[in-house]
Symmetry: C2
Subunit: 431 residues, 2 copies
């Protein structure tokens, strides 16, 4: 059992938090920004200090590698991203980068023998906060291996034209990339020819570990999901002049629909849980109405619906309920629904999941199996090489905000679990 | 009984519809725009052609006056506005202007004797579509007479700085005004010293006349109203990682609140109608949530509420129900409400209402008493001089859209009713 260093991990956490410091405990560190480049430079400096070779690829992913004893062995890689959402926290993404760094630093400091080259990695533009979409660059790199329905989102040419959502010195992602010093040849990209396994450590972003009094989690899968646009069509009229019973109020219709959706989904969720499955989660995060004027009855309303569960049968039943509800009129308005995207559940590599679980158990950590409801670069990577993830306990489940917190101890614990899982993978004949 | 000319009215309707023609049956004619100036030039040309004297005031209101036989009599004025909402119709506002023009044209053509000077008027910027707020200039002109709670909305200095909501060659309302050719001295403003009565013809903007198979309506009052902002406060979390029961979803809370508000208000409306009162109308036209991202549970939701009824007791009970609901938590979210504005019912001058009703009856028109749920320049004017309004039947109740329609016959009918009511006023000893 090797252990990572709390002191060294804490130092990395404090240092990385300065790059993009937004002044109230969190950061804004858009991909390819000056702030992100400071984090990249820190990564390069610290990795070169322990003798790792740092390479970049054409989409600014960075790879720091410690050579192994077997010249024919493929690389084992650990990575995540160093970009954040606007006013995000000090852990989302960067925790996985710091974990990779800490693992290599521990291997170097303690002269831990290993056959495979071991690599710490930074993925570019996971959040997509400045240049959408999210997980852009893992999509580009893993493109050839993605299921056909995911491919259209990640064509290289389209991505280069992605324009900033906020202030940026560059007109689009392609220009930002061309100006970035941390780029190199396309041959340096992660690929199954050179890499045999990927571990991504991340904060949970939910309260499940905390509520169960567990410190870390061995992630089994990334839940499948569907995302639909729901629209109501009524007609507009003046707030002061139109009798109540003649109204076709699209917002009233949408509110009614949403309440009924909760009623139906809550009832079905009870069945799902009673059958021994985890609950499904569903979220209506976006709403808007037209014309959105206080004196006008809305003629159109739009709302997003996001539903996630590992079991395709549960998702299918959720979709069936949605379609059933959408077939009705609501407050004299017509309802239309449209699929935005659907993603199947991504199961992580059983062998790697096993190494993680064994390590956690051997460490005597308080750990559990857990599912990922959020998307991560690892889920695309899983189509290319064996992949898995580890989760760290998240204070109150908060993330994508400046109050996002993981204790230094839990950060170090997830690094230790990653180190030992990587070493088990290194020792295995199967990789 | 004098009658206005269908042919002349139709010609005005067709001509005015060309100024700002948006290409699909309606217009976009912002106040003080080139298109509005074309309508103003047409007004000036036609009014001068019948010998009326055209004056402008410092806020670009226009007054075309035919002198009367009594040099000491004050003016009787008819008016409305020539600006529209974006992609509005050919009747809202301009119908009242054309009515004033048609009345003067009929008086001139038929040499109808009258004691009082009679004036056709254009109010500036009633819609406030480009430069908010609505009814800006009638607010400014009537400022000294408005109730104290309305005054803060209409201070001259603030209004001049009102910035455009859409493309405009001018930085603010003040600059647009300074550049407008249809301005003159402040002394030309409508005032109780020079004016003794105001008639505003308008389209109903609702389906009440049409549903009752009536052509025109004698407006009794403008309903009192209150407008509240409703806010829900929960907290944000990731759509994929946060268990359903732990969520404090501000949009779910707002939808639940809205459905309950409808339930409570609908029940109370039945009581109101059973007691012989007209129903109250209530509208939730605006909604938005923060951060409005499909993968994030909203932590805040905002919705507007607009409630209108002539009877202050009914409005008070509506406010009581609102406050009762707001005192609860909704889906583990805290609810806050805030008054945006409150307006008392404005009762029109009984004598002028009487002249309108007598005229409608004598014409043999299909008419009824009606209430105005919408705001109009006349409601501010009513604080300054005796004022009333006439409504024309609106096809399907549609307004503020390009499908807004009033038949040429109904437009002419409302002009004839205005003409005869003005002549009754002219003949009365009380004015």
């Amino acid at each position: 059992m090797y252990k990572c260093s709390l002191e060294r991990m804490s130092d990395k956490i404090r240092t990385m938090a300065t790059f993009g410091d937004a002044g109230h405990g969190g950061i804004t560190r858009y991909s390819l920004s000056a702030e992100a480049n400071m984090a990249r430079a820190e990564f390069k400096k610290r990795m070169e200090a322990i003798g790792a070779v740092v390479e970049c690829d054409d989409v600014a992913c960075m790879y720091a590698t410690l050579e192994g004893s077997d010249p024919d062995a493929k690389r084992i890689v650990m990575g995540s991203h160093c970009d954040s959402v606007k006013n995000g926290g000090n852990y989302d993404g960067i925790l996985g980068v710091m974990t990779g760094m800490e693992v290599l630093e521990t291997i170097a400091a303690e002269n831990i023998p290993h056959k495979h080259p071991i690599t710490a990695m930074i993925w570019t533009n996971e959040e997509g906060s400045l240049y959408p979409p999210a997980m852009m660059v893992s999509g580009i790199i893993c493109y050839d291996y993605l299921p056909d329905d995911l491919k259209p989102n990640f064509e290289y040419d389209n991505m280069m034209a992605s324009t900033p959502m906020d202030d940026s010195p560059y007109a689009n992602f392609g220009e930002a990339l061309a100006a970035n010093p941390f780029t190199g040849p396309k041959e340096n990209r992660l690929s199954p020819d050179k890499y045999c396994a990927m571990f991504e450590a991340h904060l949970e972003q939910g309260p499940i570990l905390e509520d169960a009094d567990n410190e870390i989690g061995a992630v089994q899968l990334v839940m499948g999901m569907f995302n639909y646009a729901i629209r109501m069509y009524g007609f507009s009229a003046h707030a002061g002049t139109f009798p109540m019973k003649k109204r076709h109020d699209a917002l009233h219709a949408m509110a009614d629909f949403l309440c009924e959706l909760h009623k139906r989904y809550d009832a079905y969720n009870e069945e799902v849980v009673a059958a021994g499955e985890p609950e499904f989660v569903f979220t209506t995060g976006e709403i808007n109405v037209h014309p959105c004027i206080h004196t006008v009855i809305p003629d159109e309303a739009y709302m997003s619906l996001d539903v996630r569960h590992p079991n395709p049968e549960v998702r299918a039943k959720c979709m069936e309920i949605l379609k059933e509800l959408a077939a009705n009129d609501w407050q004299q308005c017509k309802c239309e629904i449209k699929e935005q995207w659907v993603r199947d559940t991504v199961y992580f590599d059983e062998r790697l999941v096993g190494f993680v679980e064994e390590s956690m158990e051997e460490m005597g950590a308080k750990w559990q199996k857990i599912l990922s409801g959020a998307g991560h670069d690892a889920q695309f990577c899983a189509y290319v090489i064996p992949t898995t993830m580890l989760f760290a306990r998240t204070l109150k489940g908060l993330s994508h905000c400046e109050d996002e917190r993981v204790s230094d101890e839990d950060c170090t614990l997830v690094a230790t679990a990653t180190l030992n899982a990587v070493l088990k993978c290194d020792a295995s004949d199967e990789f």
